[in-house]
Structures are given as C-alpha cells and as structure tokens.
Amino acid sequence: MPQESLNSYRSGPDERGHFGIFGGRFVAETLMPLILDLENHYEVARVDPAFKAELSYLLTHYVGRPSPLYFAERLTEHVREVAARAGDAGGAKIYFKREELNHTGAHKINNVLGQILLARRMGKTRIIAETGAGQHGVATATACARFGLECVIYMGAVDVERQKPNVFRMNLLGAKVVPVQSGARTLKDAMNEALRDWVTNVSDTFYCIGTAAGPHPYPAMVRDFQCIIGEETRTQMMASEGRLPDSLFACIGGGSNAIGLFHPFLDEPGVEIFGVEAAGFGLDKKHAASLAGGRPGVLHGNRTYLLMDEDGQIEEGHSISAGLDYPGIGPEHAWLKESGRVTYLSARDDEALQAFQLCARLEGIIPALEPAHALARVVEIAPLKPRDHLMVVNISGRGDKDIFTVAEHLEGI
C-alpha cells in the first residue's frame, strides 16, 4: 500500500466512513437519518472545548485516569530467564497499560462516557447497548446511573447465564437486562436485538455501541474516545524511558482497546504493532479469529472480516472469553491488516489460561481473559527481543468476572 505509507495511517475513514474497502453504512433506511444526525452532532462535539472539558473532567475524577503505565518487573525477569535457558541474553522490558484499574474494571468506560455525553447533547433520554461478557453493559449502566438515564442492555441468553455477576451488577445500577433468545443467543444476536430496538424507538433512544465497529460514525467515534489509552502511553513512556516503545500488544474482539492503544502510534514506523485474536480451540477448530479465519463480508452496518459459511451465513465464534466471542471485527483493523501496518496473531483458550495464571502469580494482577490472550503472545515473543526493547501490553480489563470460568477449566485440566 504505497499510497498509505506516503501519507498517513491515521487519516481514515473517508467522509463516507470507509477504511479502504471496509466500514461504510450498511443499515436499514429507518436508521439512516439517525446515523447522519449522530455524525453531525459528533463532528460538532469533538471540536467543542466544552465537550472535551466535561469528558476530561469525568475521565480524571470519575474513571481515575490516567491509568498507570507499569513496569512489569517479574514478568520481565521471567521472559529473560526463558531467553537465558535458550542460550540467549535477550528479553524485552515489559510494561502494562493498566486499563483494568479504571472505574468498572475495563477500558469500556472511556468510550461509554463519551457517547453518553453526546447522547445528552442530542437530548436523548433512553440508552440501549449490547454486551457480551457484560463489561460494556456494566460501563453503560454505570454512566446511565450517573446521569439519570433509562438504560436497556441486550445480552444473549447464553451470556446472561455464563456472566451472572455482571448481570447482577447491571441490575444494581438500575439497568434493565434483556436476555436475547434469538439466533445463537450470544453477542451478535444481542447486537441484532439492540438494532431492532433502535429501529423501533427512533425518537428518544441512543444506541451506545461498545466496540469500534458498526455503521459509520461508530468505528471512528469509538476509536477516538479510546485513543486516550495510546496518547497516555506515549506521554508516560516518554517520561519513564525518554523514548517511544518498540512494540505494542493488545487483544482483539471487536478491537476497541487495541485501536485505542495503536492509533496514536500508527505513523511511528519504529513501533511494531501486534493485535491478538482469540483462536478458541484452535484455528482449525471453533474459534473467534475473524482476521485469521474469516473473509470480507457485511454485517451490523459495516464491511469487515467475518466468520461465515460459503453461502454468507454468519457462523458463531468461540472463545473462552465472552468478550472476544464475536464473528466480526472493527473495520479499521480489517484495513490495517490488509495494509500490513499491524501484525495480527492469535492465542488459543489454553494459552490464554496459562498466561492468565502466570500474570496473577508473577505480578499480583489478575487480568481479564481477554488481555490474557495478548499476554500469551507477549511471553512468547518478548524472550526473542533484546533487553532494551520496550514492549507495552494493554491490560484492558480485570479478571474478577472470569474467576469462575477459569476455575471450571482448571478443574478440567
């Protein structure tokens, strides 16, 4: 892609919401006026100092930002031991971007607060959202409680069952959780049902999408709200090491934590960037790695890589992590893959479980199963890098929600 490398990887999308061939606005006519209205309001808000000041205040005092950039000393020692055992003197210096310390325990709140402030500017009184693992649902319910807005969360019936603590949290926060019984009863069906609600309740309802996917302007808007992760990382790394990192790692479901970390570094040619998808039982079995095992298609308002059969029917993803269990991916990632700027890898369920335990024991940090996928590749690649290589991994959420799932699997081993 010579054209992109001459210019910038950060200029997308175009005015019609396209990142190369990906993205776009593939929605029913009923929603088109709403999406255009949202785009207009967002374009005004994003450059309005009052909007930025309000969001910034909340991110500091409500969320607890900036989240620390933490030198993971014992994990670094570990990868250097691994390198030494292989007769090598290397082993990268590993930093964690601590998004799990945010209020509500994940990066999701960064985006939700931005969208809820926008909804208030637009005079919307009712908020709907989809959720898989429940993290986006909890973040949305939290922000709605904070601003006194009605909140309806769509969640696949299967996920309601396997993420009970988060369902309870959402209820405590005053949200109504609707178990979705259609289709495969997981995240994609929750998104379908949220879209059906939105088509029905057009006048008062704002759809707060949880990842950098969906029709334009959502992929760009969610990315912009999450870019604070990468911007802080840049400043913090300059402060602690006096230079930029050499590599970045993040897990990818829809890809909002990853694009938030990556985007501010896309035009830094010295920074290697790695996204890690969920390989489930393995890429040759059931998995949720849309880039590795899917092909371009159109779903949920955008063109992107999808898991589907020969007839274009959408297939179910599988991952031990409910947050990565989605058969698609944000369109900007699809484009970054094709342009070659970001390298996309994957990690299986069992690899994520091992990394989950390693992180807990070495660092006293229980990560969510989602970033445990990124950690699985970090512990493999870090030993191959020299000691002065600065590696950042986004710990996008904390693992409290996952301890029962993990316990179940560890008993099975």
């Binding site: 019609r16 776009g24 606005r25 593939f26 929605v27 029913a28 006519e29 009923t30 929603l31 088109m32 006026p33 709403l34 259609s182 289709g183 994609k188 069906d189 998104m191 379908n192 879209l195 059906r196 088509v199 029905t200 309740n201 057009v202 092909r295 298609g297 159109v298 779903l299 949920h300 308002g301 063109r303 999808l306 589907m308 020969e310 007839d311 274009g312 029917q313 959408i314």
Partner: protein, 280 residues
C-alpha cells in the same frame, strides 16, 4: 428510459383495473424448498399480484420474531441463495408473468459476488430486489449494477424519511417505492392509518412511482384499509405465521400447509379488491 420489468407491467395493469395490488412475502425454503415452490404457485392462485421472496439470513436485523424464525427454518432445511434462485427458475417454468422480488440482506449476495448474482437472478426470472441494509449511501454496491442488469431496485421509505431525505431515497429507486408504515421491525405494531395516508400523499408529491405500503398489515380488514391509500399492500409476517401454525412440532410441512396459506391469502386479496368499492 429503463427496460420495463414484470413489475412495471403489473402496476400498469393494476392501474388499468383501478385497484390496488397485493404483494405477498414468504421466505424461500420455508419450511422446505419443495413446499415453498408449491406455496409460490398457491399465492398466485389466491390472488397475489406480486411475489416477494425472502432470502434467508442468519442475522436479519430489521425483522421481527416471525420472519426471523422463518429464516432459521429455511436455513435448517438447507436453503442457500443458489437454491433460492433454482426455485425461482422452477417457478418460471409454469408462470411467466407474476413479478418476483427477492428481499433480504446484503451479505449472502456480496459473498455470492454481485455480478454473478445479478446474472443468475436475471436468468432465473427475478424482476426486482429489496436489500434492507443497502441505503442510498451505498448505491454503488448493488443498486446501480442491478439497474444496469435490468432489475428493479426497490427502496424502503419509513416514517423517519423526511422531505429532505426523500429525494435521496427516490433517486435510483425503480419498480415501486415501499413505504414502511411504522418505525420498527417486521410484524410489529399497527400503523396509524391516517398518518399512512398523509405519508403516501407526501411521497406522491415527489414521484410518479407506485407506492406500496407494508408493515403491520395483519388481516383482510387492515389490507382493505391500507389499499384505500396505496397502489399496493404488502403482507409478510401474518402469512409466515399462518404457515408456521400448519407445521408439525419439528417445523416440517403439514398436510394442509399449502392450502391454509392459500385460503388466508384469498381473504387478503378479497380485502384489497373490495377496497375500491369502499372508496369509489
């Protein structure tokens, strides 16, 4: 000027007869392809003027429970886009005149390949397309190539389509305009008939295209009411529900599946045809 399709000819005939038309929706392959083909012929016998045939999709995000379930039954019975087109080919062997519109979502068409699909659909005897998730903003994807291939691309206008947006919706629309009478999914709610009349009148001020009205038409009575204000009435979910009730517990065709659908559509056709008497 566009090449006239069976849809254009049918609306000309209806206008000559001075009555509204009946557009019926069923899902291809519901409950199986053989029964589905029989149902298409039964719909015509019962008085349907235009057939709208659903292309099943796993994630029909503008459809309510009835049509979602019909799509899943069709997929479970092995229906694919290719098989849907084969069924249309079979239908055309004994019916050369009834217009057929394929309705569905873009992904199966995109995966089939737009050019290959248009060639196959035209060859099978399809006259028009309704693709729910392709708004005017994405016209270059399928709408413009379809027009070049001689297929009508029928667009939906909704209560959220205001005067400012209507011209964009009408540009490149051909065959007819499908006015969705409620904001919501298929099979939900009942429209406010007074508002529907106003909306149709507002659309007519912008176009000479026929206007069909659908969503929320549940029986002969509501079909008759809508027919007073529109060039055609579209009925979907209630036909699909009538079919579902005739299936066995495994979702397979029952002995009277075709006849109950035929009888229900006869009532709808009667409702639409008597509407002229009411307004004349």
């Amino acid at each position: 000027m566009e090449i006239a399709t069976r849809i254009d000819r049918r609306f000309k005939e209806l206008s000559g007869e001075g009555r509204a038309g009946l557009v019926t929706f069923v899902m291809a392959g519901d409950p199986d392809l053989a029964t589905s083909l029989e149902i298409l012929h039964a719909l015509v016998r019962a008085g349907a003027d235009i057939l709208e045939v659903g292309m099943p999709f796993t994630d029909p995000m503008a459809d309510g429970p009835a049509i979602q379930a019909a799509g899943l039954r069709a997929l479970n019975a092995g229906t694919t886009l290719r098989k849907t087109l084969e069924m249309i080919t079979s239908f055309r062997k004994s019916d050369e005149t009834t217009p057929i519109i394929l309705m569905g979502y873009y992904n199966p068409i995109y995966v089939f390949g737009v050019e290959a699909f248009l060639v196959a659909a035209k060859a099978a005897g399809v006259d028009g397309l309704i693709v729910v998730d392709l708004p005017p903003e994405e016209d270059q994807e399928l709408c413009l190539p379809a027009r070049t291939a001689g297929l009508n691309f029928i667009r939906l206008a909704t209560p959220t389509t205001d005067d400012a947006r209507l011209p964009a919706v009408l540009t490149n629309t051909s065959g007819f305009l499908y006015y969705v009478s409620i904001t919501g999914i298929t099979g939900a709610g009942v429209p406010d008939y007074g508002k529907v009349a106003d909306a149709v009148a507002a659309i007519k001020a912008h176009t000479n295209l026929p206007v069909a009205v659908g969503f929320g038409v549940k029986n002969a009575e509501s079909a008759r009411t809508i027919a007073r204000h529109a060039d055609a009435v579209v009925v979907g979910s209630s036909i699909v529900e009538t079919l579902r009730k005739s299936l066995d517990t495994e979702g397979r065709a029952g002995p009277d599946s075709v006849t109950v659908v035929e009888k229900f559509v006869e009532e709808l056709a009667e409702g639409v045809r008597t509407a002229i008497a009411a307004s004349a």
